[in-house]
């Protein structure tokens, strides 16, 4: 019966952990490098070299948000960085190349008359739709102008119809996208319903539909340049995830065997603490909605080393106390007490380094800093609270009194 309590505690944790594992894992956001996706940094520029205002950036962000919505990404991240940069992250997007294409387009639509006068722009649209023209079987875009646009369009077309005879090359309205002419149809009649069409030049329906989506979202208020682009295909992401899982599994296994060999019973306890430690980290990552990246997994594995260190420092101290002639029980108490400050000092410096890394790192490197920090804190908790509790229960109640079981003499 003396063992009942401690075995109960361990069992509860193990069973709870076993059942919590899958749900926790499914709740962790995976970074682009683990599920595929796009990371793009845009730099806003004005053609005349003018200053980019806060409002420009807000507007840019709003347009991008709409465009990204059209892509149907579950959890996009769009954030303004500094004065002129916009970071866009699209995890899990199926066709990363297409996404970059859509993000990078300015999509500035203009209606111009023969003499180059711009009469309407993309902001005069109320809707755009990609359709297949039933008579020609050609992909086209149906445009619907808003109230103002409809009025201007009606006025201009009636002017053209009055001014030029049928067949006159000046009786046209050309549609330009980003300065390139898409189509230049003749004006047959006055158009008062605000409807127009872009035809010609589309490879397939998808291309027309994509452009229509861009037009719906509106043109960018400024020019953008893609200064950083990283696309990871879903295949590479899945591959990295499988390999990382394997590395974590074997890393854990090796360290546990190592501890068991050198420290026997405490080694087993440390191994158990490590499992709890792993669960704790995953749980915290899921709880704070952090994103797990490839370097993040490396940080996680590395922090196992740190977690082991706390245990090792304590166990070595306990061994020393045993050597100095104390009973096992007294040694465990003294060992924990005397190594507490050492462990704290050693780990706080680690946290300092991780904090700096978080401040100055970018993207995945930040993920690494986060997991490393959580790792250090979790390792302090498991080593100081959990390991201590179990070892105390084992020794204070005299369940174990043979120093050899503490790896003494190795």
């Amino acid at each position: 019966m003396r063992w009942a309590k401690i075995i109960a505690v361990i069992l509860i944790i193990l069973v709870g952990g076993y059942f919590a594992f899958e749900p926790i894992l499914n709740n962790i956001n995976l970074g682009l490098d683990l599920q595929g996706g796009v990371h793009v940094v845009l730099l806003a520029e004005k053609p005349e070299g003018g200053k980019i205002t806060k409002q420009d950036m807000q507007q840019l962000k709003a347009v991008m948000t709409e465009r990204v919505d059209e892509l149907g990404v579950a959890e996009p991240v769009i954030q303004i960085e500094g004065e002129r940069r916009l970071i866009i992250e699209l995890p899990g997007v199926k066709d990363p190349e297409k996404a970059v294409d859509i993000i990078g387009r300015t999509a500035y639509l203009e209606f111009k008359t023969y003499d180059g006068r711009t009469i309407l722009t993309g902001s005069d649209l109320s809707d755009a739709k990609g359709v297949i023209n039933p008579t020609t079987n050609e992909p086209i875009i149906d445009l619907q102008l808003n109230e103002r646009g409809t009025k201007v369009f009606a006025k201009t077309t009636s002017e053209l119809v009055k001014k030029y005879r049928e067949g006159d090359p000046r009786r046209v309205i050309s549609i330009y996208l980003d300065g390139k002419m898409l189509t230049s149809p003749f004006v047959k009649d006055v158009i008062s319903n605000g409807r127009a069409q872009i035809s010609g030049g589309f490879k397939d329906y998808d291309e027309a539909a994509n452009l229509a989506a861009l037009l719906r979202a509106g043109a960018l208020p400024v020019n953008v340049k893609v200064v950083e682009k990283r696309t990871v295909g879903p295949i590479l992401g899945a591959d990295s995830l499988v390999k990382s899982k394997r590395a974590v599994f074997y890393g854990f296994l090796l360290v546990m065997l190592y501890m068991l060999f050198f420290y026997r019973v405490p080694g087993l306890v440390a191994g158990f603490s490590l499992l709890v430690y792993g669960l704790l980290i995953l749980g915290v990552l899921a709880a704070i909605n952090a994103t797990l990246t490839l370097p993040g997994i490396a940080g996680f594995l590395l922090s196992i080393g740190m977690a082991v260190d706390a245990n090792v420092v304590i166990y070595e101290r306990i061994k020393e106390e045993i050597r100095s002639g104390k009973t096992l029980r007294a040694s465990v108490e003294a060992g924990f007490k005397r190594s507490l400050l050492t462990v704290m000092d050693a780990n706080i410096t680690n946290l300092l380094a991780a904090a700096v890394l978080f401040k100055f790192g970018t993207g995945p490197v930040r993920g690494f800093a986060v997991t490393l920090s959580i790792g250090v804190l979790a390792s302090l908790f498991t080593a100081i609270v959990l390991t201590r509790y179990i070892l105390r229960e084992l020794t204070v109640k005299d369940l174990i009194n043979n120093p050899k079981l503490f790896g003494f003499g190795l």
Binding site: V232, S240, A247, G251, I297, L301, G305, E316, A346
Partner: protein, 291 residues
Amino acid sequence: MDFVGKWKIWFAISLLAIIPGLIIFGIKGLNYGIDFAGGNILELQFENKVSTGQVRNVLKDFGLEKNPIQSAGENRIIIRTPSLSEEKSREIIDAFEKEFGKMNILRNERVDAVIGREITYKGILALVISSLLILLYMSYRFEFNFAAAGVIALLHDVLFVLAFTAIFQLEVDSSFIAVVLTIIGYSINDTIVVFDRIRENLRIQKKKDLSLLVNESIKQTMTRTLNTAGATCLTLVALILFGGETTKVFATLLLVGTVAGTYSTIFIASPLWIIFKTTREKRGKIQAQKA
């Protein structure tokens, strides 16, 4: 083993590894990846058999055939080029698809040189700030001599990794900063446990000869130093063996850093502390005599 008395030997071993590396670093520099230098990486997986020669042929049409083309197993090819515009990148991909049939774009990364400069600048800043923070924290918790010895030991580890990277021309990307800062964290963590023991022994045995006391402290903490290093190395070896290409260089550098950190903890940090302590005390005495 006499850790303190033979310090000249231990320091010489370190310098023997570091100095040639730094010379190569000075001449050849590092093998900077696109994160620092700017440029384009395209990784493709073809469904048909495709050789690097065939890929080079296609790139000829774009005047890019002189760039490194690397085979990464099972019809996987990695192409590194200077920064490509979006249009050009798409044209190249289309050309590949036309020539070789179905393929998967595993990775298409482009970083402009502006971003690269920023990452470099931030990395150096991070190194300096974290070193200063650690110096401050250790001066507060221990004393300045310990702090200075600890920081020099960690710079030793960073230089060692830098030398290793330069000698083997391993590709350096933005995760290199993470490597360096992690090594800093590990190194100082490792050193502090020994310093902590020296401090404790100083309190207990006040009159003892410093070298003897330090040697003893190192021996007392030796098992811990080695076991921690062993466990950490095991996780890194698992990462190198099972973790896939992307993290291999990262894990290798961390492994090198861990080994350097363990070495400096045993052979560099504590002897340095004695040197600092005795010279400062001597200087103090001389000044006291003058006054």
